[in-house]
Symmetry: C2
Subunit: 134 residues, 2 copies
C-alpha cells in the first residue's frame, strides 16, 4: 500500500465508533447483485488487513483472532469497497464472494424468513458443507 | 393478527439469539432494489410491534424506548419480510422505505466510502434535513 491509501485508512479508522470491545459490525454485500451475505465483526486490525490484502478479514469473537474469510473453506470475499454509516458505527462492505458465504453451503447466511405467515427456508444449499470444511 | 401468525412470531423469537442487553442488530434493506439503508437494534417488543403494525419498529438504545421509524420524520419503513441469519443473531429486514432512511436526508445511511484511495460521499441529500424534523 502506498502512503496515500495508508493515510486514508487512518482517517477512516479515526471516524469509526468501535464498541467497548473495540469492534464494529460489518455487513457484507455482494457488490454487483446487492445480495446481503452475512454480518460479522471487525476491529482496527481486521479493517487494515482487509485493505492491505484486498480480501475481507473479520475478527472472530469466539476464537479471539483475525478471521480471513475463506481461509479454511476457500470461499473468499474479495474487497471491492468499504462504506460506513452516518454515525460511523456500522460498516457496509462491498465484496465479491467466491462460492458461498455461509458455513451451511447456502450463498447467504440470511436464508430463514417469516413468509406467508410461516417460517421458511428461502434458498437452497449450493455446496455440500462437508466439502467446505475437511 | 390471527393465532397462526402469532404462533409463527413466537417460534421465530425463540430462534433468535439476543445479546446480553436483549437486543439483536437489524439491517434494513429496500426489498425491491437491494439497497442497504441502515442498521439499528430491535428487542422482542420491537419485533412483535413490527409484525403487528406492518412497519419497522426499532429499539432506541439512546432513548431506551421503542422507535417507530418515521414517527417524527414521516419517513416510514413498511415491513415486507423479516429474515435472519444461520446463527439467529442478526436480522435482515426487507422494507419499503418511504422517502429517506437517514436523518441527514440521504436515502441510505451508508453514504461514506473509501473510493479511489480517498474518503468520499457517494450519494446526495434527497430531502433537506431541516424539513424532516420540525
Amino acid at each position: 500500500m502506498n502512503e496515500d491509501i495508508k493515510s486514508t485508512i487512518e482517517q477512516a479508522l479515526a471516524t469509526f465508533r468501535f464498541n467497548p470491545e473495540g469492534l464494529i459490525p460489518a455487513i457484507a454485500q455482494q457488490f454487483d447483485t446487492g445480495e446481503v451475505l452475512m454480518m460479522a465483526w471487525m476491529n482496527e486490525e481486521a479493517i487494515s488487513a482487509s485493505f492491505k490484502e484486498e480480501r475481507v478479514v473479520y475478527w472472530s469473537r469466539s476464537r479471539q483472532t483475525l478471521w480471513r474469510k475463506g481461509e479454511t473453506s476457500g470461499q473468499i470475499q474479495y474487497l471491492k469497497e468499504m462504506r460506513w454509516d452516518c454515525d460511523g458505527d456500522t460498516l457496509l462492505v462491498q465484496v465479491d464472494q467466491k462460492g458461498v458465504a455461509c458455513h451451511t453451503g447456502q450463498r447467504s447466511c440470511f436464508f430463514s424468513a417469516v413468509r406467508d405467515g410461516k417460517i421458511k427456508t428461502i434458498s437452497t444449499v449450493k455446496i455440500d458443507p462437508s466439502k467446505l470444511y475437511k
